[in-house]
Amino acid sequence: MSTRRANGLLPQLRPEEIAKHKPSDYVVRFAFGALISLAAGLIGMKFGPVVGGVFLGFPAILPASLTLIEKKDGKQQASIDAIGAALGAVAMVAFAIAVIVLASRWGVVATLVAGLIVWLLVAFGLYALVATVYRREPSAP
């Protein structure tokens, strides 16, 4: 029983799922991504990069994703997606720390590649930890 539950948390790649999404789903996400990039850029230009940096963590895209998931899979699944996003957000803190530590030593491109690797490792590590401890996808709170 516990093995079956744990297997339910094993990550799976299903490329065919892309076809179930309308192009407009991605247009909406592009618009949200472009909008927050513009806002963070303008705020950074006006108030300085530290203030602008705060808005690099602003939840602009997540609301669009949660709304789309709710329409496609229901409130419960959207809620569980948000729990996963909380783990991803912890990893985003690690990404930011990597940028601070490495930017002046490694240059921009190498720093961002390293930062993304750090994000993946922390996010996947946290997911593995939650999957090991709880052995099942949590119920929506």
Partner: protein, 114 residues
């Protein structure tokens, strides 16, 4: 003129990376795992790449300092959105949860900028 051009590149790159991460997320199961990518640093990567190449890596380190505060707010937002979306629905729940971003992000910014 240079600022406008940089902003334009940043906007296009930000939108494109968000779509790329969204496509990865849409291909993954289970939902808690695909949810990780809802908080991927997509906008941050695009913004830091453009600003870093144009103005130097030191500026990216400053953006990174602010980003810690924003990401702490994003943790609180996600935790608040989980019950809010279940009770209020996707649109209302995800908008209401923005309140949960403001305070932790503001408090962390205050601590980090002292």
């Amino acid at each position: 003129m240079k600022d406008v051009l940089l902003l334009g590149i940043r906007v296009l790159a930000g939108g494109a990376l968000v779509v790329a991460f969204a496509m990865v997320s849409d291909m993954l199961k289970p939902k808690m795992f695909s949810g990780l990518f809802g908080a991927a640093p997509s906008v941050a990567t695009a913004s830091l790449l453009v600003s870093g190449l144009a103005m130097g890596a030191a500026k990216d380190a400053k953006y990174g300092t602010g980003m810690i505060a924003g990401a702490i707010g994003l943790i609180a937002y996600s935790l608040a959105a989980a019950p809010a979306v279940k009770r209020l629905g996707g649109v209302a729940g995800s908008i209401v949860a923005w309140v949960a971003w403001v305070l932790p992000a503001g408090a962390a910014f205050w601590v980090l900028s002292r």
